[in-house]
């Protein structure tokens, strides 16, 4: 009788901690995504695309609002100036002043590279997939320089439109993602997003320099460098419309 009671308590306790850690892991991920994005944000960033024999950089201005809206517009170099990308929920449009056309990115092109970088269109359009398409669990917690760092394993749901076997994120206590590693279904590391510089900007501690690259081609990577960022700015919904993508009014 007593042993049975003990068993019950232990198993109950175990399941409680399990569900608690699950919720925690999911919360940590959600907070990290929201932290990086804010309720709304306006930023200037530089994207450096590096290849073994060339390198190019692009300066861009980006706006985000809520979970769905984002708009990115290229400032430099001159020949790409005005190229824009608008996302609304899972949909994505691009505009190029040279052809003067708004193009909706079809599903067949979602896996392709965004502006020639190591990010895919999907990476850009579906940032919040990580929140609701995965099961998260905490692998380990460690303390580095006085900050707790959670290592979280995210396994996509069975029917999630995600090809990875699992993803492992290292998220600091202050919601900054240190690394985001993508593993294939054999458990091999395929690509990773690493925060190389973390510092304060716009009143928040954020990743100032992030690098995305495939593991087996270390000479090829894309870096996003934050030049300026403002959080919780007042952005009108009209900013995130197709007509604004075509004819900037900002």
């Amino acid at each position: 009788m007593f042993t049975r009671y003990l068993l019950l308590v232990v198993s109950l306790g175990l399941s409680l901690t399990a569900s608690a850690s699950e919720r925690d892991a999911a919360t940590i991920v959600r907070d990290a995504v929201n932290h990086w994005r804010g309720v709304s944000s306006e930023s200037v960033m530089t994207m450096v695309i590096h290849r073994p024999d060339w390198e190019r950089s692009m300066t861009m201005r980006a706006w985000t609002k809520g979970e769905d809206y984002s708009l990115v517009r290229v400032l430099e170099p001159k020949k790409d100036r005005g190229n824009g990308t608008l996302t609304d929920d899972d949909n994505m449009w691009t505009f190029s002043p040279k052809v003067n056309r708004v193009i909706k990115i079809p599903s067949s092109m979602m896996g392709q590279s965004w502006m020639g970088s190591d990010f895919s269109n999907k990476d850009v359009a579906r940032t919040d997939d990580i929140i609701d398409q995965y099961d998260h669990s905490i692998l380990s917690v460690e303390e580095v320089d006085g900050l707790l760092v959670y290592e979280i394993e995210s396994i996509p749901h069975e029917d999630a439109p995600v090809v990875w076997g699992r993803e492992v994120l290292r998220i600091r206590d202050d919601h900054v993602v240190e690394t985001h590693r993508f593993f294939d279904q054999d458990g091999e590391l395929v690509k990773k997003l690493v925060s190389l510089d973390i510092g304060e900007m716009g009143g928040r501690v954020v990743a100032l320099r992030q690098r995305m690259g495939k593991v087996d081609t270390p000479d090829e990577w894309t870096e996003i460098r934050m030049d300026a960022i403002d959080y919780d700015v007042d952005l009108k919904d009209s900013l995130f419309t197709l007509s604004n993508l075509r004819n900037p009014r900002d």
Binding site: S107, M110, G165, D184, Q185
Partner: protein, 409 residues
């Protein structure tokens, strides 16, 4: 009648008087007839196989589509009726096989690669034996039900994507509002196809699962019906026309795949051309032999004429000679053709040239097909044309002036 018997006996004896000439001629006719029949059987087999493959490559015998589907096989052009409602009518129609499916272009992505493919949302039960995939030969397993959440892809595609059974892939397509519709699927089976491009281009998922993913409710892209014989599908066509109504397009396989349809038509014409061409070559030999036979026997023919034989009988005798020759040759040739087709009836493996064959949409095993009609055609053509060819030497022999002929040196 009595005359005919005498003439036939004379002709028969004449044939074997110079047996070497006769045997050579017989060999030529036999070989020619054999070539006609044998090669035709091979070609027939090739075309049949091609059409069987073509039909198993999804068109079936009769198909129903949205009128614009064939121009733009996309999600926008689904059959504007409910699948269950239409299916209910098909169930009792007594077709050999029928099925409805969702067929849309999609993109499949693994961790490493992505490829454009044709996504087939099917009901595995009704689709059995309708597609080119043999369920039992699938590595892993085939779909078990319409709402199976797995996907079956070709071996070649799996190799390209660097994926395997048990792994997940992502399928992306569009819903009717042009929004992205995507979903993860687990690869449950790998199929092999006769035609390599099928392995790269087609993948199978459950119909209900695909309908849910594409947010199209109870709609499908096409209905497929299989009848008894691909050469005669009009009955099925009429029946389907009565079953469906409204804004749909009903087409037979040779309209859906005009290349295949034309192929069949061309083939039927080609067989005749082929037989005639071979015969032309053969007929020169035949005429030459008969002319020689006549020339050698000028004196003899002159003597017969002088003894009072009527020219018409001379004509008859020579014609009977050539017909006898032809008949023996035809019998031997036909028998030889049958004897050579028989051992290879179960297929000749031509996989050495399979890549080239693939280009034509053919598989790598060739099944010769001996049609009675082809044998009859070859025999009749040779007999009729041979008869015509022998007319000229026979006519010439019957027109000899007896005195001249006898004294001819």
């Amino acid at each position: 009648m009595h005359m005919f018997v005498v003439l036939a006996r004379l002709a028969w004896r004449n044939l074997w008087r110079n047996h070497r000439r006769t045997l050579i001629m017989l060999a030529a006719i036999t070989l020619g007839v054999w070539a006609m029949i044998f090669m035709t059987a091979l070609m027939r087999g090739m075309v049949s196989q091609m059409i069987a493959d073509g039909i198993s490559a999804l068109p079936g015998h009769v198909q129903v589509h949205h009128p614009d589907y064939r121009d733009d096989p996309s999600i926008a052009n689904l059959i504007p009726r409910s699948d269950t409602e239409l299916s209910a009518r098909f169930v009792d129609a007594g077709f050999v096989k029928w099925s409805s499916r969702v067929r849309v272009p999609a993109v499949i992505t693994s961790e490493y690669e992505s490829r454009g493919v044709t996504l087939l949302g099917i009901d595995p039960d009704s689709e059995r034996d309708l597609t080119f995939v043999d369920y039992d030969a699938v590595e892993g397993r085939f779909l078990s039900a319409s709402d199976d959440s797995g996907v079956v892809i070709g071996k070649k595609l799996a190799a390209t994507l660097n994926t395997e059974i048990g792994k997940r892939v992502v399928l992306m397509s569009q819903d009717p509002d042009n929004d992205i519709a995507d979903r993860g699927f687990r690869v449950i089976g790998l199929f092999e196809a006769n035609v390599q491009s099928f392995e790269e281009n087609y993948l199978f998922a459950g119909k209900a699962t695909v309908q849910k993913m594409l947010r199209i409710g109870d709609q499908v892209s096409e209905f497929v019906v299989l009848g008894e014989d691909y050469r005669d599908v009009d009955a099925e066509f009429e029946k389907v026309l009565q079953l469906v109504d409204g804004n749909v397009e009903v087409k037979r396989w040779f309209e859906l795949d005009p290349y295949l349809g034309t192929m069949l038509g061309v083939m039927d014409g080609f067989v005749l051309v082929w037989i005639v061409v071979i015969f032309l070559a053969l007929s020169f030999g035949l005429v030459n032999t008969l002319v020689m036979a006549v020339f050698e026997r000028v004196r003899e023919i002159g003597l017969m004429l002088a003894l009072g034989m009527k020219p018409i009988n001379i004509l008859g005798q020579i014609i009977i000679e050539s017909l006898l020759l032809l008949a023996i040759g035809l019998a031997l040739g036909s028998a030889l053709a049958w004897a050579t087709v028989q051992p290879i009836k179960d297929g000749i493996d031509v996989s050495i040239v399979s890549e080239g064959m693939d280009m034509w949409g053919m598989s790598s095993v060739l099944y010769p097909e001996l049609l009675l009609s082809d044998v009859v055609l070859a025999n009749v053509v040779v007999l009729v044309l041979g008869f015509l060819a022998s007319l000229s030497p026979a006519w010439r022999a019957s027109r000899y002036e007896p005195i001249e002929a006898i004294t001819k040196v």
